[in-house]
Symmetry: D2
């Protein structure tokens, strides 16, 4: 038939461990003492790139105070151009570890290759697999052999089924700690950097037991649209958010135009707190 959608039944799908059939209740992934997927809203925030020790510690303190639960920051940056800033590498991870000590925030950072994985695992609490590496199967297998929590971003043109198959690569190696992250898909629309596919939230909740968080920073590419899409994600049932925040977005080494300031972050956290209480999340997001 023309334009008919066959609703996916969980029985016909090619993934097993990622399926609701295999694991009917929602999975909860612990990153240090933060639980993702337990009905609360987990907010990860931080700069696109770690730029200096002072920068990351200062922003971490501001974000912690505003209620963030994890600190994000890039030390290995997948840049389209070989001539762009590529990140501080291990030095960046050291600075993030110092920021963790200063604030208590667990840290999440991207790893792009197997070589740096063991080193990175010594620093970070959660490994991020970026959109460009969603189908880098050797890398998926390698993180599957660790027990580190993994934040698996959806590829720019990956179907939800392919995304779950990539999760399956990690799960099938023995690591159950996978959190999915929708970060926008590539479409014809150019007024936003990507098209944030929030349909993914109810679809994933239907098909899988894995937690899902949303990245409205990459999903819109424009700081002024981040707040609205954060609210939308929580209302749709997402388990959390990952947000780019920077002290002075206009001077950021990367992704400044989609980064919000600590003040904007604080206002957003207050809005999310009210929202999450209204929609019966387990608890509000702001702490103590």
């Amino acid at each position: 038939m023309v334009a008919m959608i066959q609703e996916v039944t969980t029985k016909q799908v090619p993934y097993k461990l990622a399926s609701r059939l295999h694991h009917p209740s929602p999975s909860v992934v612990s990153v240090r003492d933060r639980k993702i997927g337990d009905g609360s809203v987990t907010v990860m925030a931080g700069p696109c790139s770690v730029e200096s020790r002072d920068q990351i510690i200062e922003i971490a303190q501001a974000l912690k105070q505003a209620g963030a639960h994890l600190l994000r920051g890039g030390a290995f940056k997948p840049r389209s151009s070989p001539y762009s800033f590529q990140g501080l590498g291990e030095t960046g991870l050291k600075f993030m570890a110092e920021a963790r000590e200063a604030t208590g925030l667990p840290i999440v950072s991207e790893v792009m290759d197997i070589e740096n994985l063991p080193m990175a695992c010594e620093y970070v609490d959660m490994i991020q697999i970026g959109a460009r590496n969603m189908q880098n199967y050797p890398l998926l297998r390698a993180v599957g052999k660790t027990k580190k929590p993994v934040l698996l971003k959806r590829g720019l043109s990956a179907t939800i089924e392919e995304w779950l198959m990539s999760a399956e690569y990690i799960l099938s190696e023995g690591n159950p700690n996978v959190v999915l992250c929708e970060r926008g898909i590539r479409t014809f629309e150019t007024v936003t950097r990507n098209t944030l596919d929030l349909n993914a939230i109810p679809v994933i909740k239907h098909l899988s037991h894995l937690p899902i968080i949303i990245d409205p920073s990459h999903g819109t590419g424009v700081a002024r649209y981040v707040s609205a899409m954060s609210m939308a994600a929580i209302a749709a049932g997402a388990d959390g958010l990952i947000l780019e925040a920077h002290q002075s977005p206009e001077t950021a080494l990367s992704d400044g135009q989609q980064s919000i300031t600590p003040d904007e972050f604080e206002q957003l956290m207050q809005r999310i707190d009210v929202l999450s209480r209204a929609v019966n999340m387990k608890e509000g997001v702001t702490i103590g």
Copy 2:
């Protein structure tokens, strides 16, 4: 530069009357005594197709009781196949008018050609321009010459700028009563019928003064995902929703798989009411 997004400034855009610069405060469009765009949440609901007098009156009463503000229903159906049910035509509009009398709900229905426009205007309170006709410029001009409120759906592969340009066609003919409707865009993802682009909400609020409502029924194509995406739309700041509802979706003549039942509609309205109060909408959605 690679992958840089130039944030649209309202000064560079090719539309005039649809721009925030031309009309800095939000437009409010009145459909009978219902105001769209005044900070409240307007919910339009009804079957994909008007199937019979009894069907449309019965569903209208159920939806009215559950808090709907407008009744939707298709009398002229744009079907991919010439052999599919094409709608009841004027008879369908008469049945809708009877449903309005029975419930007090204003009615909205699609018009596909100029020939039927004057006739349709005698029945309906709001004209819908469907996604396939978003760039049917003679039709846009024709509805621009009426004073009827117009619900302008976004085309399947229309950019937001093109969508606003289509609104400009209507506005430039003298009809200021345009409400935009995001109903999902066409992407590579097939697990949902379309990809609902909620980014459009903050983008439209930034660039334009026109109200925007969301159609999660077409935007997902799957009834079970409608509720989550409705909540997301309201949390992101949409001015309302348009929902497909049917007494018995499994026997509907069209779009049954994406239609919710009156019971599901009522539960959703209660959730939206709580949500809209929490996010400081002007008022909750359920009526007295």
Copy 3:
């Protein structure tokens, strides 16, 4: 299964009259004495817009001399902006008819609404349905009730199946003279205006009996790429081309950047002639 393509068998499709099953041999559509679909290469060329009597007659003579078989030219222009040049209307069609008298070339031009269809039929030899109107079903039915040859362009985001269903609307009203035209689809790529989907040629030849021609002008949006894609289309088995040509592209009222000059057209015709003979088309394209 993941990423499996079920090859379409002609038995499962929703169209009937457009299917190879219904009409196993290729259809030949005659436009005056030119036959489209008989194994020869038919080339339609002309400006995007008819701008003046002199312009259209001059370019028609140059194109005729270089071997063109039909003259194209827009009198009713579907423009994204209501403030852009909208075409000369009936006056433009009169000028085209004069160009036909001067050259003997049959003429093809777009009609955007039912109102102007009878008038347009008095002038043109072939009615073009534009990409934006591919699913304007009342218009499709109306051209189906004429016996005029119809050039049916594929919509920007129409699947091949939807395109054939639109042809079915015309065929089912009794008009068998449908020629399909692939003119590029909308994708994420922005270096070209559209992505020319030449896969459509073998797919259409497999599924349908209708002739298919290619529009590399809109399919690339860049004059310098038109020649290569014209050659590709013929080599893939297309029944012809439709090309935008203008005396001075830099001053054209519309689509100048994708228009080639008469000199470039002549060189291209020579290359196509050699190519079509090599790939065993019925005859070369230039006429003795």
Copy 4:
């Protein structure tokens, strides 16, 4: 302006070494004694996966006899599912090397990670970087540090600019032997596996000096469409083709539906030979 395309000038682009400005004449990449980019048509062919010694030697001999210039075959297979056949690994490369000895055909095979790169370099004549790894920057840098010819496939949703930036990663490490391969992009169309973007041929020839070959097997996903799209690619100016061929496609361990038989390959080579002579390629494709 609406829908305007700014033609890319070679001065504004973010790549340097990949640009025509840096290297005005076309690059020629030698793989053993085969030159790619010198005006001739280079045809690489072979099975999706190496399945056994006998299979690869047998098909290599048949393809050699029909005029193939390189042997392709997968030893490390990037499969969406961790439960699918993943390739024979080093054993597969050994079998390919034996097939080279038996036929004289240079061999090309995909490498998915840095770990296996040095080993693979001992066997293969050309390294393939697959579509899923087009933005695996550490891997690109690693192959950039070898001198091996590299076949760089375009990512499923990569823009042409991003693709050239990935080539820049390889070039900037000192390896100038990059051949680009268009293999279809992901769009909304589902009747074919991907949409083969032949626009890429004139665009790449305009912007870059690197050779470009086309993969119509993945670009269509359907064996019956491979021949037409191969012809189209050559007519548009491609430097060659890479084709999946298998003795018995219906029993292939992967990609059987898009694989052609040795007989079909031979017929296609004859058609390409005629075509390439007609369009003034340096020489026909069939040897001896």
